[in-house]
């Protein structure tokens, strides 16, 4: 294959990889995207796990996508629509009632005693939106040697906070490093509301709500939010693929990379598992940083300090996914406040429950009482009439339990999941036609994600912004000429989809 000077290889076709490829192609680069699965989309791809039953991507929350960064790709022309009505998260309580929480805009329905407190809390978060959105829609601030422009921008943002008053700044500086347990405990009295606000921020971390700085994660989760694509992350991936193809990206599906080719001047291309070599002077990897730097680079390519930096990036998976093919829609044990249809359910009822559920992971034990993030969709033919797909996300699942992930461990996890499910949807077990359980090791194997981590790296304060994945690999560069990192393991990354790939692409494009 001829080496075009402006060829860029992209590894991985999840939302980050697709967005990067489309961005580069539209900038005039020749882009070859390499994906080991037969279909594009990576962890965000829709998959048919049972005839007629499709699960739309592993992850449920599409409300943190970086719409501003995606805008230039004009995805509406490729089938993407944005939800007009926000997603309602339903939070049931013991007595058959439930309240709903929508997050963009922030609204609480069905919990009148907390509505004032919620408004106050919401107003606080709203003041942080410009700062957080700005931070997450741009490369991370370069703190060791900021350019004058960046310094000015940072100062401007910081001073704009000061415009809300000294008290606000003091509150922010006090709240951000605190635990969600303390902050939400202060703001609200309803335990299930406290849990509903904390739970999404804990997904992909190894913490419970008592951990310091979880308030910062809660703030980021809420302040970085915007509208959601209709059809979630799977729909976003589909539209991105269409846009990429329309821009001329060459897709090489069903092909796994074996190693990145280098010489003394930097990237030369990639060698695939079947031996084929594709040459290019630039490579953007949307595979997680550890896989990219430690498995695809020849041994001893990285100097010890960079190798340590790569190894230190923590990617211990903590999430499992269970897809259920149901013969009928769940019969919920609760009623929603306005009688609206149920799309998303959170089964956590208190911060205490979240905390207890976060303990077993630390010891490589399987959670007995997990809390669940549920997403319901309707199945399509050839599935039976009225059939449904329920996707379950379980936080706090160890990547390497003591006994390994054998049948016994899987059964144990399923038992805990179904116990939690039966509490909100009695009788659901009897309606299960088929299931697919993906524990972290399955996720690792299937999607090539180190540690089976759904966000390509743990979410923690020291693994965000300029240190995601490491200061040594700040801003998508790797110190190896031509090699760029643009996975969810870079900034903004995590659940803030569609940012890292595009920002990495811009770093190449210039």
């Amino acid at each position: 294959m001829a080496t075009a000077r402006d060829t860029v290889l992209v590894l991985g076709s999840d939302v980050e990889g697709l967005a990067a490829a489309a961005t580069l192609a539209r900038a005039g680069k020749k882009v070859v995207l390499i994906e080991r699965a037969e279909r594009a989309g990576g962890i965000h791809a829709e998959r048919e796990f049972h005839p007629g039953f499709r699960a739309g991507g592993l992850l449920h929350d599409a409300g943190l996508v970086r719409a501003a960064l995606l805008a230039p790709l004009e995805l509406e022309r490729h089938g993407l629509a944005w939800r007009k009505r926000p997603v309602q998260i339903v939070v049931p309580s013991e007595d058959g009632r439930a309240f709903t929480l929508s997050r963009a805009p922030r609204e609480l329905t069905g919990l009148p005693d907390e509505s004032q407190a919620f408004e106050r809390w919401s107003a606080f978060v709203a003041r942080l939106e410009p700062l957080v959105q700005g931070l997450f829609d741009a490369p991370p601030p370069e703190i060791s040697a900021p350019s004058p422009l960046e310094l000015f921008d940072l100062a401007r943002r910081a001073l704009s906070l000061r415009g809300h008053g000294a008290r606000f700044v003091q509150d922010l500086l006090r709240i951000a490093p605190s635990s969600a347990f303390d902050w939400l405990g202060e703001c609200f009295t309803d335990p299930a509301l406290q849990a509903a606000l904390a739970a999404p921020a804990l997904l992909g971390t190894c913490f419970g709500p008592r951990a310091p700085a979880t308030s910062a994660l809660v703030i980021l989760q809420h302040a970085a939010r915007g509208s959601e694509p209709e059809g979630g992350l799977a729909a976003l991936a589909r539209a991105l693929e269409a846009a990429a193809r329309a821009a001329g990206v060459e897709f090489r599906l069903g092909r796994a990379p074996r190693r990145i080719l280098l010489d003394s001047s930097g990237v030369q291309g990639v060698e695939l598992e079947d031996g084929e070599r594709i040459l290019a002077p630039a490579l953007l990897s949307a595979l997680d940083p550890k896989t990219t730097l430690l498995e695809l680079l020849p041994a001893s390519t990285l100097p010890p300090s960079l190798e340590n930096a790569a190894r230190s990036f923590r990617t211990r998976g903590a999430v499992a996914s269970l897809a259920l093919a149901l013969s009928r829609a769940p019969e919920w044990a609760f009623a929603t406040p306005d009688g609206q249809a149920v799309e998303r359910v959170l089964t956590a009822r208190s911060l205490l429950e979240l905390e207890r559920a976060s303990d077993p992971w630390k010891y490589g034990e399987i959670p007995e009482r997990p809390w669940l993030d549920l997403s319901l969709s309707h199945a399509s033919p050839p599935a039976p009439q009225g059939a449904a797909t329920l996707s379950v996300l379980v936080q706090g699942v160890p990547s390497a339990p003591k006994g390994g992930w054998n049948e016994a461990e899987r059964e144990q996890l399923l038992a805990g999941i179904f116990a939690a499910l039966e509490r909100v949807a009695p009788g659901i077990r009897s309606s299960v036609l088929a299931h697919e359980l993906l524990v972290p090791t399955d996720i690792e194997r299937r999607f090539g994600l180190s540690g089976g981590h759904v966000f390509a790296g743990e979410i923690a304060l020291d693994q965000l912004l300029i240190t995601r994945p490491s200061l040594a690999f700040a801003r998508y560069r790797t110190k190896i000429p031509g090699l760029f990192l643009g996975s969810a393991g870079s900034h903004p990354g995590g659940p803030f989809a569609g940012g890292a790939g595009i920002l990495a692409a811009r770093a190449i494009r210039g």
Binding site: Q170, R210, P212, A460, I466
Partner: protein, 533 residues
């Protein structure tokens, strides 16, 4: 001397804990008339030595010294006034399987001991120590100066912030990354990057959680790890020591210095409230009804007692009261003091030796420590606790009769908020003491029969007897949201309080707890600079 009612003091210090005493000493040294009022029969607060059992001197609460600022020792000439510090020789870790680890000042010997568990870790240790030391140098000026004020827009403050920012950023990328990690990571995650052996990570990570209600896997504990690495005694960085005569010796030396400069001390003089007149602190009222007036009042007590008990919410701004009410204590530790009729014998390393003359940690691995924390989160004391043991009588014969010993045990976790409610702690006290003794007996088989006397202090006891809110040994949790400019409340982190002429000098002020003396000294300096006395 004139009667108290007519004499006029420059400053009254409420609470004779070590910070109050340091503040008094500095003020007296500058020629001010200072009166220290202490509720208990002995000065020192939680830095006290008491003969609870005849012939045996217990360092009842705090038991080792390290962070006492060298410049304070120098400026107050504490050695001249009786301060004598004996460095701890070693850190000993006995293990349930009969092995053990001894780390000390002899680098070669430490290397050899660690190598038995991990050759790689042994080789990494010097590099780690160097890195910690370097960061310690970076952190020291922050601890030894008043807190910045990021919410202010005053040019002087912005300049100070800029300097702080420069100070922080003045680092190679590697150092910068290390600093960022240290501020945000858990002790275990941080140590995982350096070491592989669980045996080493246990005792090393535990220094990150002393006095906090956090676990070794909690974010933010790597920073506190550094706090404990910053000990300096006799110029040797990172060493901890005993005070001759028990920890009370430190307080006595400071009190002696203060008295030498003319300060007066009264014990068994409990203050009931701070006198407020014309919106200012004007003196104090003792429980006896006696009123004593002063130009300024300094509190060495914790913020809750100071503002909500002594002053009263009605004299303070609402925001401030909310902040003080919200300020967290969450005592997490207890103390067990034992008088022994013989030297304890560890089955894994029998006989005498340097391993008994330093600190001994019951911390056999990270999971053990984390499970101890889990217990506390749900309202019980740890069934298998972390225990930090010292036997000061091995190097200081003044604290026990010949051949007999004092065993001082700091225990985590013992949560103030037990499920039954903190006031029920007295019912649980002995069971707690038993859990500690039972754990120790696994390592020292003949322990029980050698115990002549046992004193058990739960967080409730620390609160009731020593005035430490919720038994928190640092006058408030040392977490990022309660440090520096936020300690004890935003806008009031420089020893001034919203009540004019009232100052805060205890560990509830910057830079926080440990026997540092820094809050007391910095408060005095601030008062003198402001000509408040």
């Amino acid at each position: 001397m004139a009667s108290p009612r007519t004499s006029f003091w420059d400053a009254i210090v409420v609470g004779g804990g070590h910070n109050g005493l340091v503040c008094a000493a500095y003020l007296a040294k500058s020629g001010r008339k200072v009166l220290v009022l202490e509720r208990r029969h002995v000065l020192g607060g939680a830095a006290v030595s008491e003969e609870i059992f005849p012939g045996f001197t217990y360092s009842v609460c705090s038991y080792v010294v390290s962070l006492l600022r060298p410049w304070i020792i120098r400026e107050l000439e504490l050695a001249r006034f009786g301060l004598e510090l004996i460095p701890l020789e070693a850190s000993f870790l006995p293990l349930p399987d009969g092995r053990s680890l001894l780390r000390g000042s002899d680098a070669a010997q430490t290397l050899e001991e660690v190598s038995r568990f991990s050759r790689r870790d042994a080789e990494t240790m010097p590099e780690f120590a160097r890195a910690m030391s370097k960061i310690g140098q970076f952190v020291k000026p922050i601890i030894d100066s008043p807190a910045p004020d990021p919410a202010s827009l005053a040019p002087r403050e912005l300049l100070a912030l800029l300097r702080l920012g420069r100070h922080f950023a003045d680092a190679s990328p590697d150092e910068m990354e290390l600093r960022l990690k240290l501020l945000s990571m858990s002790a275990v995650d941080f140590l995982d990057e350096w070491f592989e052996s669980d045996v080493l990570k246990g005792p090393m990570s535990v220094s990150g959680i002393i006095g906090t209600f956090l676990g070794v896997r909690s974010p933010g504990t790597a920073y506190v790890l550094l706090h404990h690495y910053m000990g300096e005694i006799d110029g040797a960085f990172r060493s901890w020591g005993f005070s001759k005569g028990g920890t009370g010796g430190v307080s006595r030396a400071i009190a002696n210095a203060a008295q030498h400069h003319g300060a007066e001390m009264r014990t068994e003089a409990p203050v009931e409230r701070i006198l407020v007149a014309d919106g200012r602190a004007a003196g104090v009222v003792l429980a006896s009804g006696e009123e004593i007036r002063a130009r300024a009042v300094v509190s060495g007590c914790d913020p809750r007692r100071t503002f909500l008990s002594f002053v009263g919410a009605e004299h303070l701004p609402d925001d401030f009261v909310a902040d003080i009410r919200r300020y967290r204590y969450r005592g997490s530790s207890g103390k067990v003091n034992l008088a022994l009729d013989r030297l304890p014998e560890f089955a894994c390393r029998p006989g005498e030796g340097p391993h008994l003359r330093g600190d001994i940690a019951i911390a056999p691995g990270v999971d053990y420590l984390e499970r101890a924390y889990d217990d506390a989160k749900y309202g019980t004391f740890s069934r298998r606790p972390y225990i930090n043991v010292v036997i000061p009588s091995t190097v200081d014969p003044s604290v026990a009769p010949p051949g007999k010993h004092v065993m001082s045990c700091f225990v985590q976790y013992a949560p103030y908020e037990i499920a039954e409610g903190p006031e029920r702690w007295p019912e649980k006290r002995e069971a707690f003491g038993d859990a500690v003794v039972d754990t120790l007996a696994e390592y020292v088989p003949n322990l029980r029969e050698s115990i002549l006397h046992r004193q058990v202090l739960s967080p409730w006891d620390l609160e009731q007897e020593f005035g430490l809110a919720e038994g928190n040994i640092f006058h408030g949790e040392l977490t990022l949201d309660q440090l520096s400019f936020l300690r004890p409340a935003a806008g009031f982190a420089r020893y001034r309080t919203p009540l004019e002429r009232l100052w805060l000098a205890g560990s509830g002020a910057h830079p926080g707890g440990g026997i540092m003396g820094a809050p007391g000294a910095l408060c005095a300096k601030a008062m003198l600079q402001a000509r408040a006395v």
